[in-house]
């Protein structure tokens, strides 16, 4: 019998179209072609090797010229007017190529926050800039070890000014604007839009396990800021929904990375010989690769469901997004770690690419909150559905 657990598909499980459209596949291939031409792994490696770099300027430029930043932004804001599903397939390719660009910070986090707050004036002011590739944005919510609680946010918003320290913040050093999670005098959570180019903002890059995407500290000293929407629960749930959306998009990045790890492990094992046979002919290696495949397929399938929930605005999103996040995080970590194993000694050298994926798998696993936090969310959401 079929598991109907948790997920109840409208019209039963015989979704006749639980897949991306031909147009979306075409876009994915276009993105893939561009990335393999302009952004193979050597680009991520260059950013890794050069401590002064936090992203690749020229590749990012070209992406902007191609209008990628505006893909999902409505046409009347100067965007291409496509949707989340298109972002999903792009994210998968970004993950596969480890593209060292501020795409996730600007699109999944910053512009997603702006859109979910939905203040018309702000949309008017910001989205066209994003679409035109005129700004790099980010979301600043963490305040050190762990994950913030709605009643425990130290950065303070008072009379249009923000004070306190946020870290780690993705692409904090190159972003020109940020949406910042703060609390007001009554300790209510609020989201503030801040121009990071003000002198009262101090920035410092932090050393992380994944130098191909910079993270840093943002310190505000009575920095001018605009409070978006109403402080309180509504702001907190906007913040949550931004994380949900980002979780789905990052899940596709994670799956893309995991697929790349599996491909390279298979290629290496089929080439490399030991004891007079290819490494791929040893059952222990075959089964390891099979397990990676299984994890990747589960993650991809859960990501699909997340994409559907995100795109259709379904109230299944919190559960679908959390499940996609947990599944993709497990899959990428397993694929990246075991791919190093399959590569043997080679896999742990600096010039082999394995550690680039290993590093990225970890940084993505932590970026918007760790497994424990997201698993808790899965259970809370699932429990709701159980009478």
């Amino acid at each position: 019998m079929l598991l109907m657990l948790g997920i109840s598909y409208p019209g039963g499980t015989t979704d006749v179209n639980f897949d991306f459209s031909d147009e979306q596949r075409a876009l994915q291939n276009e993105v893939k072609r561009f990335l393999s031409r302009r952004c193979d792994l050597s680009v991520a490696r260059r950013v890794l090797d050069d401590e002064s770099l936090g992203h690749d300027e020229s590749v990012w430029r070209e992406m902007l010229e191609l209008g990628w930043a505006g893909i999902a932004i409505p046409e009347h804001f100067g965007g291409v007017g496509l949707g989340y599903l298109e972002l999903c397939v792009m994210a998968q390719e970004m993950g596969r190529s480890l593209a060292p660009v501020p795409f996730s910070s600007t699109i999944y986090l910053f512009s997603e926050a702006i859109r979910r707050v939905g203040d018309p004036e702000v949309l008017e002011a910001i989205l066209p800039q994003v679409a035109a590739g005129q700004l790099i944005g980010t979301l600043a919510y963490a305040e050190g070890l762990g994950f913030p609680r709605s009643d425990h946010i130290s950065v303070r918003y008072r009379d249009g000014r923000l004070s306190g320290e946020k870290w780690p913040v993705l692409d904090s050093n190159i972003a020109s604007k940020a949406v910042v999670l703060a609390s007001d005098d009554d300790g209510r959570p609020c989201l503030c839009l801040v121009d990071l180019e003000q002198p009262s903002v101090q920035r410092r890059v932090l050393e992380s396990i994944d130098p191909t995407r910079d993270q840093g500290v943002l310190t505000f000293n009575a920095t001018e800021a605009r409070c978006l929407g109403e402080p309180g629960d509504s702001s907190w749930s906007v913040f949550q929904s931004v994380l949900d959306a980002a979780a789905v998009l990052l899940a596709f990045e994670q799956v893309g990375g995991a697929e790349a790890c599996l491909e390279s492990a298979i290629a290496f094992a089929s080439e490399r010989k030991a004891f007079g046979r290819t490494v791929a002919s040893f059952q222990a290696i075959k089964h390891k690769l099979a397990d990676i495949y299984v994890g990747n397929q589960l993650a991809l399938s859960n990501a699909y469901y997340g994409a559907w929930a995100l795109d259709s605005g379904s109230d299944e999103l919190p559960l679908a997004a959390s499940a996609a996040r947990v599944s993709a995080t497990h899959a990428y970590e397993f694929a990246a770690t075991e791919s190093v194993q399959v590569h043997g000694g080679m896999g742990f050298t600096w010039e082999a690419d394995c550690h680039l994926f290993l590093r990225r798998s970890r940084s993505l696993a932590l970026l918007i909150g760790d497994l424990g936090m997201w698993k808790g969310r899965v259970t809370t959401e699932f429990e709701r559905k159980v009478a």
């Binding site: 079929l2 019209g11 015989t14 897949d19 459209s21 075959k286 399938s301 159980v386």
Partner: protein, 405 residues
């Protein structure tokens, strides 16, 4: 990406649904658990006959063969809707799923006219005599001999793990007809009447208690050459064709066992320390893992269906769902026992609830990880048939079967 049926599909779904609802009124499905196998089988035959009359027994087959000339998607829709009820059709699954399609493909016109419809109607049940004590995962290792004698063949040997043999009327069987050639080249495929003299069927009691599996012993069982399916020594090809009929292993993936919803309901009660089990973050963590695994399989299945609706037949990747679900069933049920502490080892008093109890599920999971392919076999399938990695080194390829043993 959307989850809507096409208009025709939803029309068919409604038609099926209302017919099933109407049928359900004839049975007290909730009480089935208390009935004996014989009683359930009787009810099952009754329902199966009605089902076959509407062509639902084999949706994709032409009407003249007992089907309704439907599409693969319609077949899936019918299965999904029927699964929402508890009609006792488990006895016919294999019969109609594998032996009968093979009969349709390899038997004569007359034979088809004689056997297909009665099987679809559940009047006759067919089993599949494949595994042997010394040939489990490795079907090529079968030893049961078939020796030519005039127009007949004489069969001697033993089969094992034959599902439902004790209630079956006929069976398809793979035999060793030439041991002097490499193992896969000396097998021949037949069908046999289980009433034939010399056949003894013994049900196998499983570790969890009951069981559908049997041992079947053959002592000089004589069958006519007309019962042969395919060429002499061409049995391996027919066997493969049979196995290929095993589609959507995924639809059976869940096996028995407490659902995750039941688990949550169970955990909500107050435990000996005065707390609800759901208050323990360690438990909540595990529930998330189990949910993610089940959702992953559901969504994977939805992707397979999408492929099917686009005309692609699902292949070996379906193996992954059993690999995932069987292990998940095992860890979930044992964790639920752990959470109960010492009382976790105690069965609930009420017998009827036993079937869906996680203690029973835990015992069954151990067998479920083996039946239809052990974890290791499934990983090999995925590695070789999906990822295209090399097969295991075989020392038995070009050696005659005699030399092997």
């Amino acid at each position: 990406m959307d989850f809507e049926d096409t208009p025709e599909e939803s029309r068919f779904r409604n038609e099926v649904r209302s017919w099933l609802e109407e049928q359900a009124t004839h049975y007290d499905l909730s009480g089935l658990g208390i009935l004996s196998t014989e009683q359930q089988l009787a009810l099952g035959r009754e329902f199966q006959a009605r089902k076959a009359d509407r062509g639902y027994a084999k949706v994709t087959w032409p009407r003249e063969l007992g089907g309704m000339g439907g599409t693969p998607m319609q077949a899936v829709i019918y299965d999904e809707e029927e699964q929402k009820f508890d009609f006792p059709t488990v006895f016919f699954g294999i019969s109609i799923g594998m032996p009968i399609p093979v009969m349709r493909r390899f038997a004569t016109e007359e034979q088809q006219a004689r056997y297909l419809i009665p099987a679809l109607r559940g009047e006759e049940i067919w089993c599949q005599l494949f595994s042997e004590p010394a040939a489990g995962s490795d079907l090529g290792g079968i030893r049961l001999r078939a020796v030519r004698d005039g127009d007949d063949w004489v069969l001697s040997g033993q089969k094992i793990w034959t599902s439902w043999a004790h209630i079956s009327d006929f069976g398809v069987i793979i035999t060793r007809t030439d041991a002097s050639v490499p193992k896969h080249q000396g097998m021949t495929y037949f069908f046999v009447d289980l009433e034939s003299p010399g056949i003894e069927v013994r049900p196998i009691k499983q570790a969890a208690g009951g069981g559908e599996f049997c041992e079947v012993f053959f002592t000089d069982v004589r069958i006519p050459d007309s019962n042969r399916l395919g060429e002499v020594n061409g049995g391996w090809g027919v066997a493969i064709a049979t196995l290929m009929e095993e589609r959507f292993a995924v639809t059976e993936a869940a096996g028995g066992g407490a659902s995750l919803e039941d688990a949550v309901r169970f955990l909500r009660q107050e435990f000996d320390d005065g707390e609800s089990g759901m208050n323990d973050p360690r438990v909540r963590d595990k529930i998330a893992d189990w949910y993610v695994a089940e959702a992953g399989i559901n969504n994977f299945y939805a992707r397979l269906l999408t492929g099917l609706s686009q005309g692609q037949l699902p292949g070996p990747e379906a193996a992954l769902s059993k690999l995932v679900i069987a292990r998940k069933l095992q860890t979930q049920s044992s964790s639920l026992m752990d959470i109960c502490g010492p009382a976790g080892a105690i069965y609930p008093d009420h017998q009827a609830s036993r079937a869906n109890d996680h203690r029973m599920a835990w015992l069954e999971a151990a067998g479920y990880r083996i039946a239809g392919g052990t974890d290791e076999i499934l990983r090999n399938t995925i590695a070789e048939r999906v990822l295209g990695l090399p097969g295991d080194i075989r020392l038995d390829k070009n050696v005659s079967f005699d030399e092997l043993a």
